[in-house]
């Protein structure tokens, strides 16, 4: 399998630390963005992303190239974020707080949009909220495939499910998103249908 990132990891395993720095440089933004879509706040996401790279650093003694390197690192990231989320939910439940009543983990932390905000801004806000309401595994599956561009096979490996289970998670996630975003979707659909009719 020709995978330059896996080659870099193997170089790092042979003791060349520069190779690790290069991997960090290549994956930093993607892992931060991935973590942000799964865990609570910007700060928590950055902390989680750093944890992922520290885990990658520690993995050098036991690394063997079984799949693409991107699948390997997203597997570390997905496991880490899902564990963090499970811990948060466990604490919230243990303290007698309704899990569904806590602030949406991925909801924007910014102040409400100003009056002059564009419709697209509102849509983004709504999208962020809709993503946050998805169960963790559905959100992780959707993010891996839709935003991180992993194939079904790679995403299934990253979250340790079969390919058909992954498709089912994405199917349910997309159904829920469709329901949440219906008002915006209809507008969008109308516009696209209008555009098709005009052609």
């Amino acid at each position: 399998m020709n995978d330059p990132d896996a080659e870099l990891m193997l170089t790092f395993c042979r003791g060349q630390e520069d190779a690790f720095v290069e991997l960090y440089r290549r994956y930093r933004d993607r892992i931060v963005a991935f973590c942000r879509r799964i865990v609570g706040t910007d700060a928590q996401a950055e902390e989680a992303a750093q944890d992922v790279f520290i885990k990658l650093y520690r993995a050098r003694d036991g690394y063997t190239q079984r799949s693409r390197f991107s699948t390997f690192i997203y597997r570390i990231a997905a496991n880490h974020c899902l564990n963090l989320q499970a811990r948060v939910e466990h604490k919230v439940v243990a303290r007698g707080v309704d899990v569904d009543a806590r602030p949406a983990p991925n909801a924007s932390q910014h102040a409400p949009a100003p009056l002059a905000a564009l419709e697209q801004g509102e849509l983004r806000e709504q999208l962020s909220r809709a993503l946050a309401t998805l169960p963790d595994r559905q959100r992780t599956a959707l993010v891996l495939v839709h935003y991180e561009g992993l194939s079904y096979e790679e995403a299934a490996e990253a979250i340790d499910v079969t390919e058909s289970a992954l498709k089912s998670l994405i199917h349910r996630a997309r159904g829920a998103m469709m329901e949440e975003l219906k008002p915006f979707m209809q507008g969008d659909l109308g516009a696209s249908k209008g555009a098709r009719n005009a052609m």
Binding site: E46, K167, R174
Partner: protein, 176 residues
């Protein structure tokens, strides 16, 4: 391609243009075409979510953590080699103890009871400067284990999990 297969692919988010068979089916099937339209609209909305970029100071914080990790890894490797050394010494020490405990094996000291000779021989065996350094390392390992246990005591998550009645029972056990 049948409708079931096409719908399964579309519901899982696959765009029709990623597969020739799917694209051909969607062109000819009105219901799958409608479904494909809905899902491409959803894809367009999903594309509006912009990725979060690392904040300022992210790299500085990470490389500081990495430095800590590197020195911890070095310490761990050093401790591991000391432990290996100690394990290698066990059979050697046992062999020495066996040799010196055999009656008559120490010439003029033949009168010395074997049970008294063995500890003396062991002390002699480790009296070399490098062995003393090894003993210091052993003490260091023990110290680190104590520190680790203290850290566990400070782990609030762990303390949260301890039942109050359990604490009272343990206190009663240790109180004379």
């Amino acid at each position: 391609m049948r409708c079931d297969d096409a719908q399964s692919e579309l519901l899982a988010g696959r765009a029709p243009d990623t597969s020739a068979a799917l694209a051909a089916h969607v062109r000819e099937c009105a219901s799958c075409q409608a479904l494909a339209g809905e899902h491409s609209a959803l894809n367009a909305v999903l594309a509006l979510d912009e990725p979060h970029a690392p904040g300022p100071g992210f790299d500085t914080r990470f490389f500081a953590r990495l430095d800590g990790e590197r020195s911890a890894a070095k310490k761990k490797r050093a401790l591991f080699s000391v432990r290996m050394w100690l394990w290698a010494l066990v059979p050697a020490a046992a062999g020495v103890a066996l040799l010196v405990s055999r009656p008559g094996s120490r010439g003029n000291d033949a009168a010395t009871p074997p049970e008294a000779a063995a500890p003396a021989a062991l002390i002699e065996a480790v009296a070399e400067p490098e062995d003393l350094a090894l003993l210091e390392d052993l003490e260091l390992i023990q110290d680190l284990e104590v520190v680790q246990q203290l850290e566990q005591l400070e782990d609030l998550d762990l303390l949260e999990g301890i039942d109050g009645a359990e604490i009272e029972r343990l206190a009663a056990e240790v109180t004379p």
